[in-house]
């Protein structure tokens, strides 16, 4: 071969320098690789050890059972039941997207529903399992068990779920729980919550969530790369949520629920000595059990589109004209100002003020304060309002908590409205016209109050000016700092003492007692019980006072009643609102009377004194009590 000659011709050596330089290149390369290894294995080893553990060890939550809720006597209101949920693990190195149709079929979901859940959790850490479906049926659990190998990304978890009373019993008070919303997650209050957590959404469940929820525990489970459990390292036991005792009396609540059956409105009963809520009913109601598991669209739409707002807790959220119940506050203002005592008004079925005729529903003839309350004479209060002027009325009304939150420990309490010159200027950039005060005198016009505000205000006046902050749980159940946090979260006018002269106190309370004897609420007179109260019939459409017709349908007047027993320093106050109920005396007062009666009977039963007293006990007047006290002091 020609090439052969060439091959033998070349005998030059390759330069040793070049070969040496390759040796240096090798050495340099190995040093670089060693440096990389040093960085990983010596400098950052601890970081990577943590990551390796995170890979291998997964925290599987052990759900803490939520605290149960009892009534004031320890009777169970809200329980838990065991339930199984399905979670999806997104970390395993497998293409679970392809499994979605199979998963959807087995869990009776649609692929769209699953993808919606996935989207919701797309920013959650990958190692965190995401809840696919709650409260699995036995065949769904069987599906997951049977497909452990094909669908290792599915995991079941034992959970405790809420079991609420049936039929929406006390639903607004208790509230319900649900998965935390994205909005809530951004709030400071929920800083330590994460997506998927079940939280109280309303009522007691929301306010006392931190107490009720306890702390979830966890198991440290060793898994392989497919997420299969191959061992367990340790376990942190869950701390169960704390049980709560509400101030609610189950018996009274049942009476109230029955009384409100089929009505639209609200009823709240409170112990004016302490502010403890004894019963709280809002109608229409909803079934919180439907919210405990994933809500069906139909039910949600039904609730959402109901014109009567079933989700609204009307005892604290309804803001309506208080009607004649406001006359107690008017009387308080008039008496304290020294105006009402000597006022004598001739009611000729109304009167003319500022050139307009304002009607009263009857010809009451000569009326003084002692008769104006039980008769609910509008003409008297038109006159009183004219003489007091709006800002004086507003001052007294505000002092008893109108246009202020009461500070009850439930979310989303309404404020209400008390008109005044300042209020008008601020909200309407207009001056107050003197004539507008007339309708305010009978609780119409722009005055708006909730049942809880009226219950607190009227019972506060009946308690000699001691107003309490309403609350729904018994004292001493939550840590002091948490109690303080709740007070800060739900600010309001709270506990306070307003000035009320004893003689004025006596006039108002005696007159309220007279209401159930000879006054507007005589029909609901409770034999043997010192029962006092005030009815109200508030126009809905035409806020100008004096319209004598009740209206019909949605234009029908709202019926109010605030009753209490005994008349002074009452042990119970009940505020009743029946929307579009018509006359307060007919639609609302009987309901309130039933609850007051049930309360007194229970008290007497407990005291072993069931014999009905034939004669209504006549309480000592404040003046007599004061004299007695002085006597005992001098003795």
């Amino acid at each position: 071969m020609i090439e052969d000659e060439k091959l033998t011709a070349r005998e030059e050596k390759v330069s040793p320098l070049k070969l040496n330089s390759v040796q240096y290149v090798v050495a340099l390369l190995l040093v670089v690789l060693l440096a990389g290894l040093w960085r990983l294995q010596v400098v950052s080893a601890d970081n990577y050890r943590v990551l390796a553990e995170q890979n291998r060890v997964r925290k599987v939550p052990i759900m803490a059972p939520r605290g149960k809720i009892f009534d004031r006597e320890g009777r169970l209101l809200v329980d838990n039941y065991a339930s199984i949920s399905c979670y999806l693990l997104r970390e395993p190195a497998r293409d679970w997207d392809a499994d979605l149709p199979m998963i959807a079929q087995g869990l009776h979901m649609t692929v769209d529903q699953i993808q919606y859940v996935l989207r919701r959790y797309q920013f959650a850490p990958k190692y965190q399992p995401i809840p696919l479906k709650q409260d699995l049926s036995p065949d769904e659990v069987a599906f997951i068990e049977a497909h452990r190998n094909e669908l290792p990304e599915l995991e079941t978890l034992d959970e405790q779920r809420r079991l609420y009373p049936n039929g929406g019993f006390a639903a607004h008070l208790i509230g319900y729980v649900g998965e935390i919303s994205e909005n809530d997650l951004n709030k400071e209050k929920y800083a330590f919550y994460q997506a998927g957590d079940v939280v109280g959404k309303s009522g007691v469940e929301a306010t006392y969530d931190a107490v009720l929820r306890g702390r979830d525990g966890s198991r440290d489970v060793v898994v392989d790369s497919r997420g299969r459990e191959v061992g367990q390292l340790g376990q942190e036991d869950p701390v169960p949520g704390k049980d709560l005792r509400l101030s609610i009396d189950l018996d009274l609540q049942m009476t109230a629920e029955k009384a409100m059956e089929g009505k639209t409105g609200a009823m709240v009963a409170m112990d004016p000595h302490t502010g403890e809520i004894l019963a709280m009913v809002s109608r229409p109601t909803y079934d919180p059990n439907q919210f405990a598991v994933r809500l069906t669209k139909d039910y949600w739409n039904k609730i959402l589109n109901d014109p009567d707002h079933p989700m609204m807790n009307k005892t604290i959220q309804a803001q309506l004209a208080p009607g004649s119940t406001f006359k107690i506050i008017m009387s308080y203002a008039g008496l304290e100002e020294g105006v009402a005592q000597d006022m004598h008004v001739n009611c000729a079925g109304g009167g003319t003020f500022f050139g307009h005729f304002f009607a009263c529903d009857k010809h009451h003839g000569g009326v003084d304060i002692q008769h104006a309350i039980p008769w609910s004479c509008d003409t008297f209060y038109y006159t009183l309002a004219e003489r007091l002027q709006i800002d004086t009325i507003a001052k007294y009304a505000t002092s008893v908590g109108i246009s202020q939150k009461t500070g009850i420990d439930l979310p989303d309490e309404a404020t209400g409205t008390m008109p005044s010159t300042a209020w008008k200027l601020k909200n309407f950039h207009d001056k107050w016209y003197a004539g507008e005060v007339i309708s305010v005198g009978i609780g119409q016009g722009a005055v708006q109050a909730s049942p809880i505000q009226l219950a607190r205000a009227l019972s506060g006046i009946a308690s000699g000016g001691a107003l309490k902050r309403p609350h729904v749980i018994l004292d001493g159940q939550v840590p002091q700092e948490y109690q303080q946090a709740i007070l800060d979260t739900y600010p309001g006018s709270g506990n306070k003492q307003i000035s009320l002269k004893p003689e004025n106190w006596q006039i108002i309370t005696d007159a309220m007692a007279e209401t159930t004897v000879t006054g507007t609420a005589a029909a609901v007179h409770l034999q043997g019980i010192d029962f006092a109260g005030k009815t109200g019939t508030a126009q809905v459409v035409n806020h100008s006072a004096g319209a004598t017709s009740l209206g019909t349908g949605n234009a029908r007047a709202n019926a109010w009643f605030v009753g209490m027993a005994p008349r002074r320093n009452p042990d119970i106050v009940v505020a009743v609102l029946v929307e579009h109920g018509g006359w307060g005396a007919e639609a609302a007062a009987p309901l309130g009377a039933r609850v007051v009666n049930a309360f007194v009977e229970k008290q007497r039963k407990k005291a072993g004194n069931l014999i009905k007293v034939a004669e209504t006990p006549k309480p000592a007047t404040p003046l007599e009590t004061a004299a007695k006290k002085e006597e005992s002091v001098t003795n």
Binding site: L7, V22, L33, L37
Partner: protein, 366 residues
């Protein structure tokens, strides 16, 4: 006058280092496959090693000058084989790399072409007689390596194709490329890469993902980012002393991808720590130094070229594989010579060593 070579001149020291590394490799393959369906691969690796040793001795008996003589035919046969793969090859996971023979034997020509190219490049540069390279010489060298490289690239098998490049670079370097020429080539290469990078920037994300899949389609079911991440965790969590043999959580828990082939070094680092890794790198250093020494003592330039071509391939594969394991390099699917499991890799390495032995045994010839 050619003296018959004797096994006294065989490089027993080199073989000792190589076998030590192979034993380490077998133990690590055992550990990495312990809890998987690939359990038992260490025994197959032992079989490959045995066959490899036999092949090495046989090859060491063949005078490398004979190889130099027949290499044009071998080169032609290689090109034909690649054409055959493209025409009748078996498609595995989207890539045509294999020719299937009756009896279940799969033949992957691209592995063996490495050896052919080493010898072909040695012969080519020897034929130039050590003169300063002209641009025409350089162009021919590029064609010599570039033609099979492009064909393998089209299979597609970027990893193997890339391992051809160090043969060319080594040849040019030793063959006398001038500094100016090298500078121009490097500059041109950088501009080319830069241009590709820029167009890469213009690409849509899914196209980029396709590029990644192109680099290594079969080993990349969950994205190369996941593999690198798991590899870094494995290496890093090994720490200084390692977690102990068969005790690597990343390796045993199946988090580390293919821990017996491409990522075997990560598995080793996890279980034996920085100290173990240092030992293995030291072994590579000794093996490479020994090889380069053999290149220096080669009786003639083609002997040096052949040994250095093999050195270049080993350096390249080692740097790319370990670089990948510790996050310096992208995932390319290049195995670690002498450690990764696999018949082709083992047989290639030992045949290459056989040639090196032959070169060494002839150092006093002539």
């Amino acid at each position: 006058m050619r003296r018959f070579s004797s096994f006294r001149d065989f490089d027993w020291v080199l073989l000792g280092f190589v076998l030590l590394l192979s034993v380490i490799s077998v133990f690590e393959i055992y550990s990495a496959t312990l809890h998987t369906k690939f359990h038992g691969f260490e025994k197959k690796q032992l079989e490959y090693l045995a066959v490899g040793l036999v092949l090495m001795f046989i090859v060491s008996l063949i005078d490398y000058h004979q190889l130099l003589e027949i290499v044009p035919w071998a080169y032609g046969a290689s090109i034909l084989a690649l054409i055959g793969v493209a025409a009748v090859g078996t498609r595995v996971l989207g890539a045509k790399r294999w020719i299937k023979f009756p009896g279940g034997i799969h033949f992957q020509p691209s592995e063996w072409i490495k050896l052919v190219l080493v010898v072909a490049v040695a012969r080519y540069f020897w034929s130039l007689g050590g003169r300063d390279l002209t641009w025409k010489d350089i162009g021919k060298a590029f064609l010599l390596v570039g033609i099979p490289m492009l064909m393998v690239l089209k299979q597609p098998d970027l990893g193997t194709a890339l391992t051809y490049s160090p043969i060319l670079i080594c040849g040019l370097f030793l063959g006398g490329i001038r500094f100016k020429q090298a500078a121009i080539l490097i500059l041109g290469f950088l501009l080319l890469v830069g241009g590709v990078w820029r167009t890469g920037k213009l690409l849509k994300p899914y196209q980029k993902a396709r590029l990644t899949n192109f680099i290594n389609p079969d080993n990349d079911p969950k994205g190369s980012g996941y593999q690198i991440r798991q590899s870094l965790i494995a290496v890093g969590s090994g720490g200084v002393w390692g977690k102990g043999a068969t005790k690597g959580t990343q390796t045993q828990g199946d988090f580390l991808p293919i821990p017996y082939t491409d990522f075997i070094f990560a598995a080793f680092c996890e279980e034996h720590g920085f100290v173990g890794a240092l030992g293995v790198l030291l072994l590579y250093f000794l093996i490479l130094m020994r090889l380069i020494q053999n290149a220096q003592t080669a009786p003639d330039p083609p002997g040096t070229f052949i040994v250095m071509g093999i050195v270049a391939i080993i350096i390249f594969q080692m740097a790319v594989n370990i670089g990948m394991v510790i996050g310096f390099m992208p995932v390319t699917g290049i195995p670690l010579p002498l450690m990764s499991y696999g018949g082709s890799s083992v047989l290639f390495t030992f045949m290459a060593l056989g040639i090196v032995m032959n070169v060494r045994m002839r150092r006093f010839v002539n």
